[in-house]
């Protein structure tokens, strides 16, 4: 579902002083007070600089507190801000000199929602692939609001293979509401396209670094997200399903999206605490859109550091590290039934061995030749 572009689209430095999100309302009150005071000073000639400084300091302190304690749905508003830097912005900032955009899946389509090409970062040629959102409605129509079709993932796979061939490290930038839920997407095998990318990304013999720069939703994000190192911007989210989708299924009402966002534990801070991501890249106060150049610098530093760390390792080690990273996510528990049975066996070893041999006898003869390694 296309995200609603219901927030002001003009992004400029003034936004630091002109709040625009609902949760920034308390800031507006302080701001208005400062304006009033300024006007009063100008009209009456009274020196208000002392009070001004106090108020400004108060506003700054409040702002800092506000942005370090954002609720998940407030973070969602920030990452869906239309002026948030997108993949092409980040690419041009990371590598202003070298950028060769590479197009198409070689099979009938060039998906605008997923872009890729070659850059140079810290003197290292790299392949960059990312989902691409637009800054305005017109842009978003060509970019499909950052929701790729199967052909986009095919393009990504082609570029990954290219990187693999030439030994280029890969950077993927994730900001998508998900893969596109459309008729043609289903007919052209969106599920298969994502699945194949997941399987083949796991086998890539070059370093892969992923950065979730905005919203990373479901399989659409994973289709370019299998990496040696995963980073997230401070307010970015990474989730199995959009909070809106989750709410409409579990609460049967999309208006519970805020609650769903809380329950899903989808913030960068949550994912770091789970050990799923490797680090958080800080954002400028109030969000990445308020200092795009500074944000891109921070991304560049982190990515360069990660690539430097990964590059010296042989391909086999990179594949193994990436494999093990995901292999250990989601460790299940053991049912009480198992514990009960075990303690029963400890209490009555003779009985246990007797029943064990009995079960071997009842087992089918075809199975009896080779016992499985089952814990039971």
């Amino acid at each position: 579902m296309p995200p609603k572009a219901d927030k002001p689209t003009k992004a400029n430095k003034a936004m630091t002083t002109t709040p625009c999100f609902d949760f920034e309302q308390p800031l507006v009150a302080i701001q208005e007070k400062i304006e009033e005071l300024k006007q009063l000073g100008a009209e009456t000639g009274i020196d208000v600089s002392g009070q001004m400084t106090t108020l400004t300091r108060q506003a700054d302190k409040y702002r800092k507190e506000l942005y370090s304690n954002l609720k998940p749905n407030e973070k969602l508003q920030i990452v869906r801000h239309p002026e948030r830097p997108n993949t092409l912005d980040i690419v041009s900032g990371l590598s202003p000199e070298i950028w060769f955009e590479l197009h198409g899946n070689r099979c009938g389509m060039d998906d605008g929602a997923l872009v890729g090409g070659i850059i140079e970062l810290n003197n290292t040629p790299m392949v960059v692939v990312g989902t691409q959102k637009g800054h305005n409605m017109k842009d978003n129509l060509t970019r499909n609001f950052g929701m790729p079709n199967p052909e986009g993932y095919e393009k990504a796979m082609r570029l990954f293979a290219h990187a693999n061939k030439f030994g280029m490290p890969i950077l993927t930038l994730i900001d998508t509401p998900g893969a596109y839920p459309g008729i043609a997407a289903e007919e052209h095998g969106i599920g298969y396209a994502i699945a194949l990318n997941i399987r083949e990304m796991a086998r890539l013999r070059v370093p892969v670094v992923s950065v979730v720069v905005g919203e990373g939703c479901s399989g659409g994000a994973l289709g370019i997200g299998v990496a040696n190192h995963i980073y997230m911007l401070e307010h970015a989210v990474y989730t199995v399903i959009s909070p809106e989708g989750c709410a409409s299924i579990l609460w049967r009402d999309a208006s519970h999206a805020g609650q769903a966002a809380e329950a899903l534990k989808l913030t960068a801070q949550d994912l770091e605490s789970f050990g799923i991501i490797d680090g958080i890249i800080p954002e400028p106060l109030g969000g990445a859109h308020l200092d795009v150049a500074g944000q891109i610098d921070a991304i560049g530093r982190q990515v360069a550091k990660a690539v430097e760390l990964l590059k010296p390792h042989p391909p086999e080690a990179l594949v193994e590290q990436r494999f093990q990273k995901y292999r250990k996510i989601g460790v299940p528990g053991q049912s009480m039934r198992h514990v009960v049975r075990q303690s029963a066996q400890e209490a009555q070893p003779a009985m246990a061995s007797a029943s064990k041999s009995a079960s071997t006898n009842t087992a089918n003869t075809a199975n009896a030749t080779k016992k499985s390694k089952a814990p039971i």
Binding site: N164, A179, E186, R205, G219, V331, N364, K373, P375
Partner: protein
């Protein structure tokens, strides 16, 4: 454990639940349970007759959804269950309108299972193969950490014992209640299948009513051969989500097995009574060729 002891264990569990909850009826004794009415043609048939007929309508051939136990009975002569004691740890301590751990308890009672998939080693007509069967009755067959782990361990057993692999999917997709952990199971299973693929072993994916979301976008479509069961609906995005997005009605047969066949997404559509023979035939023809062709390393294809 053998198939027989495993069923005995299940029956025991069912009895225990009946006495605890008091609302679990013994199926064979109630009048309604004796008769089954077809959703498709409203034909009435005896449950006994219906079950021996592969869970299909005896009149029109409509495929009813069957559970994992019935599926295994139909596909395997013998079945050794593995990793049956894995349970979710509720990593997010998730609560929506009710806590996840309560939903798990209810799902166990409803499905008589500990998770949404049963994995093990099957033997059919003398052929041994690794078999995983998902069960829609357990939280819509959704994939959480346990489902991902059980599939991955099954792949590892198949690698170790050099067995062909069959996974019968029936799933609404990734399990929301385990959030990012569920999502990452797509990578865990996909990456394990990458290793399986590299070793040149056969994986047949059987997609049944319904298979969607994270399962379609991971192991479900990574089969060397993909079989769709007749009449099943298979896709990535749900029908309702697509209709809401594109704001138009979808064709009635959209995302059905034959629709997918038409668009080249599956190798074949198979009717339920033919599934067993199709699987055995495919496995034996591939294993025969692997024996004749020698070590896979010599034939390994270049990186995609």
């Amino acid at each position: 454990m053998s198939l027989r002891t495993w069923f005995a264990d299940k029956r025991q569990k069912q009895k225990g639940q009946k006495s605890e909850t008091g609302h679990y009826e013994v199926k064979d004794e109630t009048f309604e349970q004796l008769w089954v009415e077809c959703y498709n043609c409203t034909h009435r048939m005896l449950r006994r007759e219906f079950l021996t007929g592969h869970g299909m309508c005896t009149e029109c051939g409509y495929h009813f959804r069957i559970n994992s136990t019935q599926r295994i009975e139909q596909l395997a002569d013998a079945f050794e269950v593995i990793n049956d004691d894995l349970v979710s740890t509720d990593p997010l301590v998730f609560t929506d309108t009710e806590p996840y751990h309560e939903r798990i308890a209810k799902a166990e009672v409803k499905s008589n299972l500990y998770e949404a998939i049963i994995t093990g080693i099957a033997t059919t007509n003398g052929t041994r193969f690794a078999l995983g069967v998902m069960d829609f009755d357990y939280m819509g067959g959704s994939m959480g950490s346990v489902v991902g782990e059980k599939i991955t361990r099954l792949i590892e057993v198949a690698l170790e014992q050099k067995l062909s692999l069959v996974i019968v999917s029936a799933s609404g997709g990734a399990r929301m209640q385990e959030g990012i952990f569920s999502l990452m199971q797509m990578v865990k299973t996909g990456a394990a299948l990458g290793r399986f693929h590299e070793r040149g072993q056969l994986f047949i994916s059987v997609l049944t009513e319904p298979t969607f979301g994270g399962v379609t976008a991971s192991f479900g479509t990574l089969g060397d051969i993909i079989i769709a069961e007749e009449g099943s609906r298979i896709g990535f995005a749900g029908r309702r989500v697509i209709e809401q997005t594109i704001r138009q009605k979808l064709p009635a047969d959209f995302q059905t097995a034959n629709y997918l066949l038409k668009y080249g997404q599956v190798d074949m559509v198979v009717k339920r009574p033919d599934l067993r023979q199709t699987l055995v035939g495919l496995i034996s023809v591939h294993e025969k060729s692997l024996k004749q062709a020698g070590p896979f390393m010599h034939r390994q294809p270049a990186m995609a």
